[in-house]
Symmetry: C2
Subunit: 365 residues, 2 copies
């Protein structure tokens, strides 16, 4: 038994399909009140559900928003996804999810799939990359996006533009002040701590990571501190853990150099991990090596992931309004259609974050 169609509803109501369509969906013209009721009644007596595919075909617009993330189980993306979902709901649209592990080739596939479904807009949340291994994928992705935009699609990208994407109509970037915020974090940290700074970053070429590293170094410079050493590892918890292990070894080594008992003589280090999840991993590594925070090392992250806020010692970090980022990116990809003229998308709706110092970077006391 197939779902009932508009035609069936019309027949039952004794009207034409056109009329039925007009009453059941918001048409410009309002049919007569009496006949409208008949149609509506017939509709739900049959349990009529409009076929969105057919509607989409006829109107060429699908009510779909495509969302691309690296990993939906990563709390960073999950939070953004929630914002996207909210915005979608406001627009009475549904969100189509694609996860790509950050591979531009997969992202290109996702864009093509969204285009095939005639998604009204696409939101790309994952960090852009300029790594050489991603060159080709990036080019393909850029081309696919370009085509999508040329066909009237809207895209909203969080953070940085896709590498190589021509600033087409309908292509919007929501800037995130990663660099500025990281600089502020460095300045605040430098003001209260005497520690030597070390950075745990993601792979070189990951924009989000690179921005935060650059900003942090700049802030350090502004505070009259030397640039920090940078350890590179995976942009996730285990990357943080590995780097943390290496740092722990270093801390222990420098201590024994200072002579066994003079435990306080070597300077404490302050670790800046470019995101909270890496910071937590690093903290776990230090702990597993018998080191304590903030006694033996201080540590700060970035993002202010909600689920991690109960972690002890409380993690110093930079708060980012993740949910709002998702919302804004989605809205930016829904505004004026192509040919709006000025190329300006109304108020830039800038994202603002906030340095949030907590126990993990207190002085050793």
């Amino acid at each position: 038994m197939a779902a009932s169609t508009l035609t069936e509803v019309a027949r039952l109501a004794g009207v034409s399909p056109a009329t039925a369509s007009r009453v059941l969906n918001g048409s410009a013209r309002k049919p007569g009140k009496d006949i409208a009721d008949r149609v509506r009644q017939a509709a739900d007596s049959l349990g009529y559900i409009p076929n969105a595919q057919a509607q989409g075909l006829a109107k060429s617009s699908s009510g779909l928003i495509g969302l691309i993330v690296h990993d939906i189980a990563d709390p960073y993306f999950a939070a953004i996804a929630r914002g996207v979902q909210e915005a979608a709901r406001e627009q009475r649209k549904m969100v189509l999810l694609a996860t790509t592990e950050g591979a531009p080739a997969d992202e290109k596939e996702a864009v093509a799939a969204f285009a095939a479904r005639r998604a009204d807009s696409i939101v790309i949340a994952g960090s852009r990359s300029s790594r050489s291994e991603d060159q080709e994928g990036n080019a393909d992705l850029a081309a696919e996006l370009d085509r999508y935009c040329r066909n009237g699609g809207q895209v909203g990208v969080v953070g940085h533009p896709v590498v190589g994407a021509t600033a087409a109509d309908g292509y919007h970037v929501l800037p995130v002040p990663n660099e500025e915020l990281a600089a502020s974090l460095a300045v605040e940290l430098a003001a209260s701590l005497d520690d030597d700074f070390v950075i745990i970053g993601g792979p070189e070429g990951l924009f989000t990571s690179d921005d935060r590293i650059r900003g942090f170094q700049r802030g350090l410079g502004k505070a009259g501190r030397p640039a920090a050493e940078v350890l590179r590892s995976a942009f996730n918890r285990s990357g943080g853990y590995e780097a943390g292990l290496a740092l722990a070894a270093g801390i222990k080594a420098s201590r024994s150099e200072d002579g066994g008992t003079a435990a306080g003589s070597s300077k404490r280090i302050c670790i800046f991990a470019v995101n909270d999840v890496m910071a937590i991993g690093a903290a776990a590594a230090l702990r597993s090596e018998g080191l304590r925070i903030p006694r033996d090392a201080s540590i700060a992250g970035f993002d202010d992931i909600e689920t991690l806020r109960d972690f002890r010692p409380a993690l110093s970090t930079v708060h980012l309004p993740l949910e709002e980022i998702g919302r804004l990116a989605t809205r930016s990809a829904s505004g004026a259609g192509p040919g709006a003229g000025t190329g300006d998308d109304g108020p830039p709706s800038a994202i603002t974050g906030k340095v949030t110092l907590r126990r993990s970077t207190e002085t050793a006391a």
Copy 2:
């Protein structure tokens, strides 16, 4: 400039649309190698992307899987979503996301929306509820699901069947042994701890919560312990926090009764929170009241949320293969079509969890 169509490709290749369709999509019959190449070349010279809406209309199947969760930012659902996504990828389908905050009325809307999009299957991940305020919503949801199934849709539900749903063809439930596992947890805890047990549960009527409470009590009974008192609050972090606050007050009160200095004379309590997120909230509350875990109270959760594993003291819990749950629920809603006969969906593919005791429930030492 609209996207190019199959007809355009066909014209450019000098063949009929039917032939073009046959080569570009997997048809049973294979066109001649020479002509196939011409079509393929024409296709990507035009940047042809098939219109999934039109395909769906013609084939009446959309390649879409609908996923319903309470909140995508909740790590429990995020983990399941990842599993669903994986399974979807295996089937070369995309996932449509709907979040409902657990309201059956919204879930009904979501099902209708999925039905409108002709989703091939629907996965419902959120806990079922039998609360009176959800009665009406449940009935509507059940009716909507029933209709969806009758029209050939497949649905997979995690945990418990939707209240009132008639076991239609295409309706599959993936059981999660919440009760058994909670019982095992109680037994293991009772074996190593002398504590008095207290349970922090979600609102009465939430199946997942109720199952875990019931199981825990049963385990307690089996171990010769009296039933635990049950505190009810919201099924999330703040619910846990509030309940934790109440418990902290109780702990302090009973201590002062025992006389100020005899801090060890009143028995320690062991808190079982029905999920990890609530447990973390409760732990935070205790801590904020100056209590320490496991010294002043022990605590255990349920789910073994990955992001929470670095929490200290490490949380005792019951490990659940969340990702696999998502995968299996998705697969169960993709197997044999309607009319398969036996009503049996092959191997029950049972979910198994594992009691995982960690520091938060060690003896006070």
